[in-house]
Symmetry: C2
Subunit: 628 residues, 2 copies
């Protein structure tokens, strides 16, 4: 039976010939972001075959050039007779999130089949009656009739700027204007009329506390045309939600945070537009998801009451506002739809993410959805229940709060493996150059590796090993230690790159918050982790998540690895879905109404569960039998 | 039986004791603007008793101070045993339109009884539930529930600027905020929330081609608080609709006309606000009526197609737009409601005016409604029909197109009577000072007087009377003549004030357009003037209209005088009604749907009728048996 080895993690597994590379990865404890579930359409499981020859029909789903260069889709590629070496991180020099979208540009990912499209803004070719003498109708009234007939809308709203030039528009187009229209609650809001841009674009945005990600979607085909992600510029004004709310309370603070959120989105949007050579005015709709505080800040809404008992947001469901009204620099009349929140700490990002999971469909067996981010959330759902909670993980898994932490982008250490003998670390750096910092997946890897190697104890203290120069005091004379991952001479900025005990404490606190949150959620439903049919993990880790390492540190429960599914940035993917699908917008509203928010701070057992989880992997070792 | 003499017209009539002064005026051929129909509430028939003593209960309807100064309401004052001299024009030094509103400030006119109020914007005292832990609601969601419960609205729309400070607003007001809300089609649009201005004001506007009039209304009591009127500043850019549309087609012309319309409204509004010491932000709603072109220009909508076959407006019913969106300087979120039009030349001004007439109520007998303005319109209605047409009168009745014409404001000659022997004119000047020009009612009076005196023939030529120095050539050696009303030494500007033959031609053309328009309208319905139960006349003439003189020149048909009713500026009064009453807004929409527009230029007989009317009083003298 052939061996399949996965780089940069160095994990190897023996599989039967004919096993798909995606399944092989799962068996090796690696979850590739694969939204489409193996249909070959999302591009999330794109890998590079570095050695050996994979079989299967993957070549049908990729441009020939990509196949010749050795790329494969793990879901459609199978192991044959020979050993394979597979690189999971496939896009040198760019953020891993954009790998699939950019690489497969010859065959862009489609959010939904065209037959299921009902975008936030619909493009119509109207046939308006020509005016006749004494017909008792104005241009607008004839346009309204045509629009009502085409859409079934009971009322048509036409912005003044379109009305002002309506006579010329109708006559210039021979009374057959193209029309971009936002349909909602029986009303047709005209967004644009006349000659529309050649490609009508939609913008999907995930506004995370630490990271912001955007996608440009073709509204007529649902194809993802471009993708970008980066730091939320607000991070300079507070690392987490509470810090941001505090900053917003300062004079001018709220306005500044709003401006920074918009600036972040505009920067990423400009990158995407530049890549496809389009204009901001061609973006006719936007769908945004964020946690409740991020949504408030982006809209300039005072978030103060979110942090004050009884933790009340100003608004749960802002619905669709016009881009011009909120200062979003796309077509000013474009509707900007905000995903609804369920509570102050269970926001629209989760409601968007849920759309990608069977929890949105009343699946009978219990399932857990975990979104790992600065504001971590978990939702437990089954046939007739849906509970959710927030776990204040802090930014460690997005590289925040670590002395050399950074987002999963070029220069970040994304994987670490320790030599079993020498404990010398082998670092995998995104983009392949010298390391500049360490991202969430690298940190999970490093902590898991150090723990497995016996260099880190269950409480997160590094071993006293004078024989190992890589373990040194955190600062001269200090009582805390650090593990040196890279000496100054091999880093990108000439500074030492180490993981310190305070860094490790942050990681342990973050993983404890998420694990204990999930545990309490299950307790409330009278379930144990073992009852779960599936655990769906989302987060901005990049292209893949090492489930094995996440279990090793006690972030994820110790369940059979095949029960895990990693779906990448689900908030962004859900935003793209609500951008192009009315069915998903309705489903999202239903989910928001069904989902019961559980405030962990009010659950008696939570603090005990959290404290017990502040060990590697857990105080109750029996919870993690597979961790040695 | 006592005589009642009406100044400044000098008309006298003998009446039975107990006859109301309003009825006496009618018998003398003078129609006072009396919207309320004799209830003593509108103040339109305010007069000054200069000699003699009137009976009746009029003192109950006026401030004591006014009664002591000799003022009376003609509808509630009756002739007693002695002769009376009554002055119709009662407000020295101010525009007559503002007489009633200003004088009776101790007892402001009420547009509607409070019990019938349902203003465009409703003031509510809300009781919003306080937040509870995990209640699953945001501030907006709790506000929405309270608003939906209070109004029955299916949906609540909250502007972002209100949402941004919603948490503070709710907590500052103890979750009991005042709320100004615009209800329409099941949606509640929040206009203002929190502490509202002490007086919530509404603005009613009549945008006429030559004149603009505004009223400030208290939205809680429907009381008229202030009134003002003045020239439409657009008149510099074209005297009539066609001139304006032409100007709008120039580069920058449309934007300039829009700006001028807004500037006119803002100037009049500032006067009104200054008088009552209120702020523009306190104006929470506006209702505007204008002919179709004026509405287009005020909104910056290209009016070009109005003058091009098949004469199609861009929009008939713009509905309610926000003040901020249209640049109206009141509360930026205030809805600005535009009365619907029926066609390019039958506009919202007529649809507003109709609300003051029995034509709005399917009255069984045929009635004619005539609005005399630069864009004159007539509507004929009975139990199951409603026909309307436009008569391009030109601006003569508003003082436009006359060599010394002016609006009915201080300095305008409003009445002229000729000495039967010497033909010396006795001039009544609004405000009592030296004359500066002549307004519509003065011009009608002067033409009627000259015609009766035999100094003007039926074709509008002045008699050759070398013995009368007041009749002189229009210019040295010219073939046209003029009648000198005031020599330079007695005018306000030191210039001679005359009525020229070209002036008289303009007046004849204007009256012919209106009379023939009405005639054709009746022809279409198979009716004659004699079949009419009532003729309701509207127009910005000022306080009263001399029906006798209007018939003498052939402007109005020769019917029993009691069949006429003058209702002043009906477009403005109708705007005030739609401002405060949902019932009237609905009624107006129904009227717009019912009213059939007749394009006179397409009616075969119209030009003949018009040509026949180009004589004093008419080519067919039998149409005017009472005119000597």
């Amino acid at each position: 039976m052939p061996h399949v080895t996965f780089l940069p993690l160095g994990k190897s597994i023996q599989v039967a010939p004919g096993t798909s590379l995606l399944d092989a990865a799962k068996l090796a404890g690696v979850a590739l972001a694969a939204e489409c579930g193996g249909k070959g359409t999302c591009g999330g499981c794109l890998v590079l075959v570095e050695s050996g020859r994979a079989g299967g029909d993957f070549a049908d789903f990729l441009p020939g050039e990509a196949v010749r260069a050795g790329y494969a889709l793990a879901c459609r590629a199978v192991a044959g007779g020979e050993d394979l070496v597979i690189r999971l991180s496939v896009e040198p020099g760019a953020a891993p999130e954009s790998a699939a979208g950019q690489f497969a540009s010859g065959r862009a990912r489609q959010v939904l089949p065209v037959s299921e499209l009902s975008p936030l803004v619909t493009m119509l070719a109207l046939d308006v009656a020509a005016p006749r003498p004494m017909d008792g109708l104005g241009d607008f009234e004839r346009l309204s009739r045509a629009l009502a007939a085409a859409t079934g809308a009971a009322r048509v709203d036409c912005p003044l700027c379109i009305l002002q030039t309506l006579p010329q528009t109708l006559r210039r187009t021979g009374h057959a204007p193209a029309c971009a229209v936002h349909l909602h609650e029986g009303v047709a809001d005209i967004v644009a009329l006349g000659e529309l841009p050649p490609r009508a674009l939609g913008l999907a945005v995930d506004i995370g506390t630490t990271s912001v990600a955007v996608e440009l979607i073709d509204l007529k085909t649902a194809a993802v045309l471009a993708h970008d992600a980066g730091y939320n510029e607000q991070t300079r004004r507070g690392a987490d939600i509470i810090g941001r709310i505090g900053y917003a309370a300062r004079p001018g603070g709220l306005a500044e945070l709003r401006e920074l959120a918009l600036r972040t989105i505009h920067r990423l949007l400009a990158n995407c537009l530049g890549r496809i050579g389009a204009d901001p005015e061609a973006v006719l709709a936007a769908s945004l998801s964020g946690n409740t505080t991020m949504t408030h800040l982006a809209l300039g809404i005072d978030p103060e009451c979110i942090r004050l008992d009884p933790y009340t947001p100003a608004v749960l469901a802002p619905g669709a506002l016009t881009a011009g009204a909120i200062g979003l620099a796309i077509h000013p009349l474009a509707p900007a739809f905000f995903a609804p929140a369920v509570g102050s700490y269970l926001g629209g990002d989760i409601l968007s993410g849920l759309l990608l999971t069977p929890l949105a469909g009343n699946a009978p067996e219990p399932r857990l959805f975990i979104d790992i981010g600065t504001n971590g959330e978990a939702v437990l759902g089954g046939e007739d229940y849906l509970f959710g909670c927030a776990c204040s993980a802090g930014p460690a898994f997005e590289g925040g709060g670590l002395s050399r932490g950074m987002r999963a982008q070029a220069g970040a250490i994304e994987a670490v493996s320790l030599d079993p003998q020498t404990f010398e670390p082998d670092l995998a750096v995104i983009g392949g150059g010298k390391p500049l910092g360490i991202c969430g997946s690298g940190a999970i890897d490093a902590v898991a590796g150090l723990f497995r190697a016996g260099l880190l104890d269950a409480s997160g203290r590094l071993a006293a090993r004078p024989d190992l120069p890589r373990i040194a005091p955190d600062r001269p004379g200090g009582r805390k230690s650090r593990f040196i991952l890279a000496q100054p001479d091999v880093t990108a900025d000439g500074g030492e790159l180490a993981l310190t005990e305070p860094d490790i404490e942050n990681i342990i606190r973050a993983k404890a918050a998420i694990y204990s949150g999930c545990q309490v959620l299950l307790d409330q439903a009278g379930l144990a982790f073992a009852d779960l049919a599936e655990v769906i993990v989302a987060g901005g880790f990049g292209h893949y998540l090492s489930i094995e390492d996440a279990i090793a540190i006690g972030l994820l429960p110790d369940l059979p690895r095949e029960k895990f599914r990693f779906i990448g940035n689900a908030s962004l993917a859900g935003s793209s879905l609500t951008l192009v699908s009315a069915r998903h917008r309705e489903l999202q509203a239903e989910l928001a109404a069904r989902l019961t928010y559980l405030d962990l701070s009010l659950v008696p057992g939570f603090m005990d569960a959290y404290t017990a989880a502040l060990f590697l992997p857990h105080t109750e070792r029996e919870r993690f039998p597979s961790v040695k």
